[in-house]
Symmetry: D2
Subunit: 382 residues, 4 copies
């Protein structure tokens, strides 16, 4: 059974649209059948044509797409719709798609406010539709292995979490020189209340909660808009307290010149520690108090590699899998859940993906971070 | 225009079959339409079903597939056929497919002898069909950048080439314990005259000639069958002399315990040097005599990143692309050439892929290496 | 001219005493002539004997040593005295030695309070003696190069500083199981108001001010005593604001299991960035917005290596220099200043070492960090 | 007891002389008392003065030094003499010093021919003097640990050895532009029959035999003089067969542009593998067939760190020890043996250092390599 996908956003010039399409395609489980790829009908049509989409199913607006596609026969209409628009255009399409009976994949952050997030959460629960939020870094095999280790007690009680996400691409005011990715991300009307914290901070936040298996209880944030004229934060540091009392730090910056996409996570327990870096994602360094550090690797068949990682690996060790493969793991797991749901089977817990709850958490994080940042780094609950 | 692919080999349990299919799929340029996936009809049928192939186009034998598919209408029959069988089953299917008018993708090494290789070369030239040999490591962006640098004279005259390919998976006699990948690779009837040299040595050889832009003129080889009872080489070292007088070494082993897929290439010129490692493929280290080493990176937009690498990159720097993406670069370039040919357009030289000539070189390398290895490492021309 | 050194502390079982002695010895500029190595006369005598110190110049107490040695002829008595005792025993010996006319080397942190520090500062200024505080990490060639780059404007205006110092050796209550290093460091009477922040946080703080050439203006701290029963902090995170408005973070932990001595510094400017790691100290990674990252290396003779690094390097590139060599750079620079002073020559600015001012800064940092940590991470001036 | 050292060679401008002196000094076991530092009496005097050597014991010639110093009282004359001259000046001074009753430290390679080497070997045996050949890379703690692992069977039977030593400093004809280090190394009268193979190849050879605990039985070499006008080899590759049948490769080059001092060793057994790199000497990577790779580290206190490494380590893990410390391990072990001999105690086997036997092996290696290189890479016994 091959799933059918519709897409909202992701027109030519989009960064993340093509990634979603490659991710959906990679494992051969999903095919694109319809789209409203852009608010510009010409762009939408061109994108659909390049993708080989039937021209009758390329739409000028997402409203039109959802309305028309819901009326198509069950074996033709999409199983799910991917929303890959800028932040301010997540809530509306996601809500309407859910109400129309479609499962939904949505890019992050979920929406523009906690209120919207809670409403979407309610909608998902009420409609019984499946929802995937593409915090794609959770799709890496070694991230899944790290989570499995932490949840399995292999590093003991978590004491300290250090997550960090540094980029440099916004170190000059590129939003004023025609960079479309930068334009909407630095525009509060389109990006929301936060800049770097929304774009990458939420990834870091989600990763820290996903791997630690714990929630952040409160935080203190120091946010800056370093590049003159920029309205939203482009650099920030956050002190975290987790629910079990563990401390942590979340550092995110888009003005760290020369940094590419430097996301890393370290978790220190009372029995051991783990360290992972997105830019070399196939290694997980495991540190112990009483024996040498070990290098766990994607694609190995050792006991230490665990169960979750091999489920999300395609090729043997040493043949690097990357960003697209990790992203595809979300899509393929989502597809497996849709199929299981449609066949009345139980869903495989290890075939997981971030969902609506993680979306609500992300919005709570953003509101807390911004409030703390504006109030002299006072503590805020998350 | 989406191309149609047929496949010979790659049934369930195959390692490389799924890789070819993911690679073909990734960029959305190619779809699988027919296959003779296994000599076992049950396996062939199951594989095709899992791939969503129309059951009428799943065949019991490759002969039957080629015969039937060639008679289908032009807009239905495959544009090309991928041959992903063990070595001894390359020549026959490739030859028949070419003669039937199909373009061909073939796994490496090309065939079982220089004689077969020369015959295939003649067949390709006579039929005017396109031929891609999947020396997939040439598909990495940083490998393409390395070649561009060497050919552009950026490191000066090449003086020394050190290529190395170490694996450990054959360090025990796994071919006697049910490992199918090991079984045929260690069986002279299926693998040919060489073991490790055929399986990975030819990759290293191809990489060294591809990036240096030079051919090996002569070599001296020291081959060993380290694991008791093994008939073919599982470890070897080769001294190389290139046509311009540069020296080199090619080290390949499958008994290097703990090594995953450790392919690396270093080329030293009289102005600079380059170093690349497949297991961290998005970096190219460039060394200079009079200034600090530089790290060239996939996805960067700098002058130093050149022209060829960006053409073969999908996402910005820091979002790692891996083995499948590199493999897909061969498929997508091959597809572009097929389309260009069909439209009477000139083919883009930078959208390159290894072809039949590289296949002949590989077989010459193997015959020379084996002859030298059996004769006390005496020198042999390649 | 070879300088004569006296030593207070550093008896058998000491960690840092032997390091000071090796550092003093390495470049052949200084010889140990007298010592009060321990409060236990037996230990002091044994240490002196092992060092080959004349038994008449091994003392039971530091008071006795200073009193006696000051009365020796000028060509016999030490040029300077190294104080390598636990924190609570810095102020007294340093003060008395200065007043007695000796130059002083003192381990860090300077003392137990800002008040003591200010008093020592006044003493140094009044006596005209030289004072070296062994923030030894400033002695690494690549740290000196980093500072030179920042001060020379090579990375532009500093925007962000991320300094981090993680260790794991205090992740269990080793102070209760006979570890002497841990005992005094976790005892407020001997260590002072802070634990990890005093032991390693001050190093990180000093490094950030040294390399950035800027002072921290205010900070917010989150300190924890993670190991049950521990009285002082063993883990902490600090948000920093520098005088120019740049933000920063200082993370220090001694409960990060498996971490050895993981000190790192990254500074992001508006033209470039630098990154350095103490555990691989001979590399300095330099990142640029518009060209590939570069690897500056100790011992290279390139323009990019600058002036300060070669002055502090002994052997050519690729022959790693380590911790002791960096420590020795402080001793040798201190010796050069003593000689210059004695000869009435001007002191070489690049032959620098941390001094009494840095000691005062460190104590201000500690008092601010502890105050903020106890008050819900409120901001404190430094 | 502090030992007294005399030195032959190592005058101002020497590279290795100061290293020997720092290495002798570091652990406080040895002091320089006399020297004939240069064939130029002015240079010799200046070097001695800078070292603080008594002017009456600075000599114009090494013959004069040995003659005079042997007649000094036993408690004044040196315990040993270090010979740190160019290759052609090893045999004479070493021989005369041994005959005069001095122990000898000598730089590598031992001398100019196997005949000289055998004669020195005989001299050492006859005189009962101790002899240390400074193959200094054996002094690194992780090298000692590697040897201990191999000899203890921890990686099983050795199957493959890959040793490599790449430098770039001779990639242009610097010997014609006033580089004194290059001048004598490229002059057959001073360097002997080999260039790169003598200068660094012998280090690699020694390291491979030291760590593997096996001897090379035969080899095939491919040597080149890449830089025009150079008389000796500056680049070479050697196929090795060890006495137990294991294969290996030794690659050495001084024209590998941009390489600093890139010596590495990998040994593959039938149970595990080890990998070590001199430029990051405090790590030893250990690979296993059935579990994740481990990182053994200098200064750790784990069972896996073994016995030999801690004996040769000064400071805790994470405080990097480097080239000088490793060199000092040879000097300090040599000093321990001298003391043990003088006190009639047994010498500690783990406090080892390379000796005269290793010197003979090195010369045999050189003669075999050069003979094979001149004869079309034919096999030669070592």
């Amino acid at each position: 059974m091959k799933l059918r996908m519709g897409m909202i956003g992701g027109g030519e010039g989009s960064l993340i649209g093509p990634v979603h399409r490659m991710a959906a395609r990679l494992d051969g489980m999903t095919g694109l059948v319809c789209g409203a790829f852009s608010s510009d009908p010409v762009v939408s049509a061109a994108t659909g044509a390049a993708e080989g989409t039937d021209s009758s199913r390329i739409y000028d607006t997402w409203q039109e797409m959802i309305t028309r596609e819901r009326s198509l026969p069950e074996d033709i209409r999409p199983h799910f719709i991917s929303v890959v628009t800028p932040n301010y255009l997540h809530y509306g399409p996601a809500k309407m798609a859910l109400e129309a009976g479609f499962h939904v994949v949505c890019d992050k952050p979920l929406c523009m406010s906690v209120a919207e997030a809670v409403d979407l959460h309610e909608t998902v629960e009420r409609t019984g539709r499946l929802f995937c939020l593409t915090h794609n870094y959770t799709g890496y095999p070694m991230v899944k292995r790290a989570r499995e280790m932490v949840l399995g007690g292999e590093i003991g009680i978590v004491r300290k979490v250090a997550v960090e996400y540094f980029q440099g691409w916004l170190s000059s005011p590129v939003e004023t020189t025609g960079n479309r990715q930068a334009e909407w991300r630095s525009d509060p009307r389109k990006a929301g209340i936060a800049g770097a914290m929304a774009d990458i901070g939420t990834h870091a936040f989600n990763l820290s909660e996903y791997v630690s298996g714990m929630e952040v209880a409160e935080l203190s944030a120091d946010l800056g808009s370093v590049v003159p004229g920029r309205l939203l934060d482009d650099d920030g540091s956050v002190l975290l307290h987790f629910e079990n009392g563990a401390r942590g730090t979340l550092l995110a910056s888009q003005i760290a010149i020369g940094e590419e996409n430097n996301l890393s996570l370290r978790i220190y327990g009372d029995k051991g520690s783990i360290s992972w870096r997105q830019m070399e994602p196939n290694s997980l360094t495991v540190l112990w108090p009483d024996r040498p550090a070990q290098l766990y690797r994607t694609g190995t068949a050792f006991t230490e590699t665990g169960v979750a990682a091999p489920m999300h690996t395609r090729i043997p060790a040493g043949h690097p899998e990357g960003f697209i493969e990790a992203f595809a793991n979300l899509y393929s797991n989502f597809a497996r859940h849709i199929i299981a749901l449609s066949e009345g089977r139980e869903r495989e817990p290890l075939a997981d993906y971030p969902g609506i709850y993680e979306g609500v958490r992300g919005m709570k994080f953003l509101e807390a971070v911004v409030a703390s940042g504006k109030n002299n780094s006072t503590k805020r609950a998350v």
